[in-house]
Symmetry: C2
Subunit: 219 residues, 2 copies
DNA sequence: TTAATTTTTTAGATTTGTCTAAATTTTATT
DNA sequence: AATAAAATTTAGACAAATCTAAAAAATTAA
């Protein structure tokens, strides 16, 4: 079956929300998609009819197995295109999300598999998120939140919690990006800010909000 | 101003038709887009309002200067993507058109200019059609129709008259593609078929329709 | 130069995706 | 448990793009 761009955007958004939340709510999804709750309800009915969604009125919802499969296909396309934009076209890692938001809806299966081969089957996108393979499998992320990293343990930044331009702008300003090695030097309990150090730079403080948006792997 | 995918498809189709025809008619455009005349009329009104079209009821129409500029931008994207698909992703030259039909609607200007650079500023797409540069300029095609090529003059195939899968399938079957050197050996006036020869292959006959779909450059 | 034919436009519906405002259901608070 | 607040759904409207059928205009042919 083929899906419209609007349907695909809903499916993908539900997929991401249920990763975090388990059950997804109407308002949550409306906020995620910058639309209104009434519009969401309409689309939920349609996706339910198409058997992509387990949904009962007022009860919240989750994707069906079939819906999850569709979602993984869209996520695969999104992340492969992001990788292409950064690795081949020299985009900054903080400017690819909006373009990939469009490219992810190109329908050719052959295109995406050939792109995957051309890129040499990358496992992670520029934000550190795993890229599903053509059957929907992807590497698990066993990453810990920077806020939970013990003091003085070097760790590598491997992913970010959101793709908002605001976040990515701040990260760029602080020279924080995928692959950078960080160490937590102090934790301030008053506001939960932390002092971190990155290679050849004096330590600096980041806010709780920023630390929670960063995931690291101990090395 | 931003345009919908439907609007862009109309603009591009009008551009191609007026290249051949001068003035374009409602039915012509409906046929080109596989839609109905009534739908075309509706869209013409909209494009006129947006000043992309010189159009008076019942009089036929052409793009305005602004409309032509938009059209060239879409053509540029279409042909650059086709080049990418063939040169980088190893698509056959006969299978790229449908995918490019979608990719041409991705809106990022930065994307297309970076793609152009990545491809090293190609001048022609895989079908031999010139690719407009970022200001809309492109190489002129000074090609002659294969049906008009004099006997025994070697010439190089440089473009095809349409991208229909039917045509491209036939060309592939006959080993005819961009860059192939052909010579016309005989012309049969009964049905206007011609006998041609290509490198290391015995001569064979092609129909008038096929010969008219091929453009060559004398060498 | 009428009449027939073709082309084009209009009128009225339909589908998709969206919205606001009102109604309903659920959840939280007294 | 009753009431207030919040979340969700329904009702009704709208814009975009399409269609069919009918009307109007232009073209062609008698
Ligand atoms: Mn998207
Ligand atoms: Mn990403
Ligand atoms: Mn198109
Ligand atoms: Mn082409």
């Amino acid at each position: 079956m083929k899906f419209s761009i609007a349907e695909e955007n809903y499916i993908k958004a539900i997929y991401h929300l249920q990763q975090a939340d388990g059950n997804v709510t109407t308002n949550e999804l409306a906020a995620e998609l910058n639309t209104k709750a009434a519009s969401v309800t309409d689309m939920l009915k349609k996706l339910k009819t198409k058997k992509l969604l387990n949904y009962e009125k007022y009860q919240g919802f989750r994707l069906s197995a079939e819906g999850r499969k569709i979602a993984l296909g869209i996520v695969r396309k999104h992340r492969l295109w992001e990788y292409f934009l950064v690795e081949k076209l020299q985009f900054g890692w903080d400017e690819v999300h909006a373009v990939a938001e469009e490219l992810e809806h190109i329908t050719s299966k052959k295109l995406i598999d050939k792109l995957d081969a051309f890129l040499d089957y990358p496992k992670f996108d520029p934000h550190g998120d795993p890229i599903p393979d053509s059957s929907g499998r992807m590497a698990a992320q066993k990453h810990i939140n920077l806020i939970d990293l013990p003091l003085n343990e070097p760790a590598e930044i491997v992913s970010v919690g959101s793709q908002s331009t605001e976040l990515l702008e701040l990260l760029r300003h602080k020279n924080l990006s995928m692959g950078v090695i960080v160490e937590v030097k102090r934790k301030f309990s008053f506001d939960h800010s932390i002092e971190i150090k990155i290679k050849s730079q004096s330590p600096f403080i980041i806010s709780q909000q920023l630390a929670q948006a960063l995931f690291v792997k101990k090395i």
